[in-house]
Amino acid sequence: MDLYAENILDHYRNPRGKKLLKKPTIEHEEVNASCGDSLTLRLLIKGNVIEDAGWDGTGCAISQAGMSLLAEDLSGKTVEEAAALSPASIRTLLGVPVSERRLKCAMLPLLALKNALRTRKKEPPLAWAELLEEDIP
């Protein structure tokens, strides 16, 4: 199965969750400066549950489709469940093989999520090397 499968293209052409939230609990922007992919993630958190996830962004089909898929997946998760998401979870979400060369595109949504949660806890942001260390293709 190819990276540009119908599911990916569908989420690219018709992104889900691409919206503003009225009063987001956190808002965080993550940019892949080397290629111009950027994602702004907004989460509405009540108690320890992610009630709603909205986002905005520009960039390649993989990063944008990936964010769309992740945003759908986040609603209803606890903060702990969201923090536990890994590169493997993203690979499952995408459902298509991701080559080395598109890894950062595919994982940008995850980095945005991790760093949104870290910012909320006033922790330092995760760097790419640390994030990708967990990745087992």
Partner: protein, 407 residues
């Protein structure tokens, strides 16, 4: 067309192994001619020894090969003296050498270095580092929408600021534009500034004569000239090198080392610390010897036809916007573009799956991309071995890729 392209192609083993690939990324790195590979392999199999220090005959032969490469580069660049040729590992290292050795010794707070908006990061960042380190200023020459440098920018900066150096590319790795380097050098010299030319792209596509140009520094890499990676050249005028402190410190660049200090060697060795890339120098010499078998007129005429075919092909794709020049003759060996509603990375990936090798990104020229208001572009670049036919095949492939991605 005087070039026998099929015959040339056959001399590059890469194309035999990768018959189905259309390689349009020579600006990133060029493929290697047979003689280059043979020369390096033979060196390692028969004449490998460390250079300059050995007192046995084999070491003298190895040294002869290394210094022979230096002499070849000198002739290739038409430099007056072989000690004006320094081997480094790349253009990037050469440009860093200029900034960190010449720059640190001769620049102070308030001095200005002029950069063109076309420059590659390797010609920008070392000066920005000095900006942070010692407080020099940088001033920029902008270009118009077709990529032509605005020479009035240079003239005003030269008259208004204390300019010590102008850093200019011989050929843009994004737009293919060739700035008027000779004119820039004349203006700079009149204002008392030195000029450093980045010839990384120019070197494989046009004859370079450092004496005629009268540039003060010039840098290029072996791997873009159909030679190996891991070797670059810095040319600098003899008097300038004499007044520069060493860059890297270690063996070979010293006359004497004591516990309390050291005396550096004379140029070029002063700037060649440690064991040099000997096999790579041998490979570079073979690449230069090979390319000099073909006339520059024939090479440039062939590449001009390739660029005309490229522009024709790209201009036939709906929604495609070429960055910079409208006239293919103003774009030497490369052209960069974007397509509405698509991202360069996606296009490059999909084209790659069909066997087309193009580069996507900002090509280490972010200031240039920002000036054109795009985060990234797709780049097609050509080498001596490309054909018009393979370039034209890109047209339908682009159309298919766009159809797949378009919302």
């Amino acid at each position: 067309m005087a070039l026998n392209v099929p015959d040339i192609r056959r001399q590059f083993p890469f194309f035999t192994t990768n018959g189905s690939l259309v390689y349009l990324d020579s600006a990133a790195t060029a493929q290697k001619q047979e003689a280059v590979l043979t020369a390096m392999d033979t060196y390692y199999r028969t004449t490998n020894a460390n250079v300059h220090r050995g007192m046995y005959e084999l070491a003298e032969r190895a040294t002869g090969l290394y210094e022979g490469a230096r002499a070849t580069v000198q002739r290739f660049l038409r430099a007056r003296h072989s000690d004006e040729i320094i081997f480094t590992k790349s253009t990037t290292e050469s440009l860093n050498l200029v900034a960190k050795s010449w720059g640190r010794a001769h620049l102070k707070k308030g001095d200005t270095v002029v950069l063109s908006i076309l420059e590659h990061h390797s010609a920008i960042v070392p000066w920005l580092q000095l900006q942070e380190e010692i407080g020099i200023d940088s001033a920029w020459i902008d270009c118009d929408d077709e990529g032509t440098l605005i020479m009035d920018d240079l003239r005003s900066i030269l008259s208004e600021k204390k300019v010590k150096l102008v850093s200019i590319t011989g050929q843009s790795n994004v737009l293919g534009i060739r700035p008027p380097v000779r004119e820039i050098i004349e203006l700079a010299h009149r204002a008392g500034a030195l000029v450093c030319v980045d010839a990384a792209q120019l070197i494989a596509h046009h004859p370079v004569d450092v004496t005629a140009l009268d540039c003060d520094f010039l840098a290029f890499s072996g791997h873009k000239l159909y030679g190996p990676t891991g070797i670059g050249v810095l040319y600098a005028k003899r008097e300038i090198l004499k007044a520069m402190p060493p860059f890297l410190g270690g063996g070979s660049m010293i006359e004497e080392v004591r516990r309390d200090g050291f005396t550096p060697a004379d140029p070029p060795y002063k700037f060649e610390a440690g064991t040099p890339p000997i096999a790579e120098a041998v490979g570079l010499k073979a690449a230069i010897d090979w390319i000099l078998q073909t006339s520059w007129t024939d090479i440039e005429s062939h590449e001009k036809s390739l660029m005309r075919a490229a522009f024709e092909t790209l201009n036939g794709v709906e929604g495609l916007r070429i960055l910079g020049p409208k006239n293919p003759d103003a774009a030497s060996a490369c052209v960069s573009f974007g397509i509405e509603g698509t991202h360069p990375h996606d296009l490059a990936d999909i084209l790659g799956q069909e066997g087309f090798c193009l580069r996507a990104g900002h090509h280490c020229a972010e200031p240039l991309h920002r000036r054109f208001s795009v985060p990234a572009s797709l780049r097609l670049s050509v080498g001596i071995y490309n054909t018009e036919e393979e370039i034209r095949r890109l047209g339908p492939a682009l159309t298919r890729a766009i159809r797949l991605l378009r919302k």
